[in-house]
Every structure is written in C-alpha cells, then in structure tokens.
Symmetry: C2
Subunit: 150 residues, 2 copies
C-alpha cells in the first residue's frame, strides 16, 4: 500500500486477510477441517496458492500448525485467538451473500432461541442499534479527515 | 473457484469483493470520496488496479457511476443499496484491525449514547448475543456437511 494512503485498520486487516483464499481457508478451519487436503478440496483453492496463504496466515499469527503424525510429518491447522476473532468478518460476508447473491443460502443459522438468525449490531453499553447514522467517527490520524487529507 | 468447492455465500461474496482494493474503494466512497483521484490517493491503489476494481464493482451492482461534468466527461461513484450493505463487513474488519494490529486505531467510533462503540451482535428476535456457541448451522447444499462433503 502506498505510504500516502489513509491510515486505516480496515486496510491493515486486509493486508493480512484481504484475499479470498485466505478467508476461505479460515472458514474451513472454523468448520473443523484442519488438514491441507480437506481445506484445498472444500475451498477449491489451488495447492500452490493455498500453501502460500496458509504460510502467510501462520506468519501473521492467525493460524498455528500442529504436527499430528511423524514419518511422514503431517500437520493440522488450528486458529489462534486472532484467527477465531475473524468470525464476525465471515458472518458479515455470509449475511451479505445470503441477501444479495442469486442463490438460496447454502448454510442457514438458527439461534438458540429457535429463530433463524437475523443478526443485529448493537452498542454493548446502551444496547441500542449501532447504525452508521448513530456513530460519530473521529479520525486520529494526523492530517486526515473522513473526506480525505485536510 | 473449483466447481467441487463448498457452496457458500462467503465464497460468493468474496468473488465480488474478495480483494482488498475493492473493499478499500468501497470504504472511501462510504467516507464521501466519490472521485477517482480521491479514491486512488486515499487507498493507495495503483490507477490501473483501481480502474479494474471500480469497473467490476459497477458490473456487480455495488457501485454506479454518475456523470457530474461534460466535456470532458467526469464521473462520481455512488454506492448502490448492495454497496451500502457492505458496511457490516467493513466494520467487522475495522474492529478486528483495531484489536489485533499493533498501531492505535486511526479512526474511533462513538455511539450516540456517548460511549466508544463496542459492537455486540445479537439475535434480532430475542436480543441475546449471537456467538458461535449459540448458533445451529444447517447445511442446505446437497452432499455437504460442515466437516466437508458427506
């Protein structure tokens, strides 16, 4: 990213997971598919790309490899706390896809209350819905405003 | 994506926005920066990549171009409803980055209640928190389970 770009946590997060095969690998591991061949088959990623993505996710502290077999050495991939914290990103993408893609949702989620999950983002403090209209954004990066550099 | 891959709304969404320059362009337009030069400067995207991303986002129905000047023709980019619906994806990425990246948050959000936003995802029906532990996922895609193909 250009050094003149807006300082932004979205951009920082996307430098780590901003590539679809990386997030699809995280999805499969969240689903309990921890082995390379399972992740490759279920994501459809090429083995070369998947190998590179898994390595960079491990370097970034999203995944850790655990040996489950010696001679030959075989590894499973486990999410770190940072990796498990990506769940809301995947949920938001799933909600968008369920709503805007032409196909019916391939996976549906029911809440323990028994109803299909219709997620609502609220303020943990007051419990009211957090919409763009109810948020006041403050730009801490010197020289920047929401509209761009000052 | 391989035709044998898991049918998934996350994968479908990422086929449209699963590339960081696409989501960063959407971020800038949400921030009110609608013109190519502003978007290029604030994202740090190369002009060639940004041109391609904006075109594919327009084709996918995320953006629409509106002419604001004739001779020479100049355009602004506006989000469609589908584009505005990407806000939760960007919020989830920002929250993750704010928590896990080494730098302090470049942008902070306060809720109208006056407190810094600590977002909580709840079930719209019962109001209780929606965590992975409180969700029952049902796979509708024939032949697939969460663990992979049956």
């Amino acid at each position: 990213m250009s050094s003149t770009a807006r300082p932004c946590s979205i951009a920082g997060a996307l430098q780590i997971v901003g590539e679809r095969w990386a997030l699809l690998a995280v999805r499969e591991i969240m689903f309990g598919n921890r082995r390379f061949d399972e992740i490759a088959r279920n994501t459809g990623a090429s083995r070369d790309i998947l190998t590179a993505r898994l390595r960079s996710l491990e370097t970034a502290g999203i995944l850790e490899r655990r040996r489950y077999h010696d001679r030959p050495a075989r590894y499973e991939y486990h999410l770190t706390e940072a990796g498990r914290d990506l769940a809301p990103v995947l949920h938001a993408l799933r909600d968008w896809g369920d709503h805007w893609l032409p196909d019916p949702p391939p996976v549906t989620a029911h809440h323990t209350c028994g109803h299909p999950l219709d997620p609502l983002t609220v303020c943990r403090h007051c419990g009211a819905e957090a919409t763009p209209e109810t948020l006041r954004l403050t730009v801490n990066a010197p020289g920047w405003t929401l509209k761009g550099p000052e």
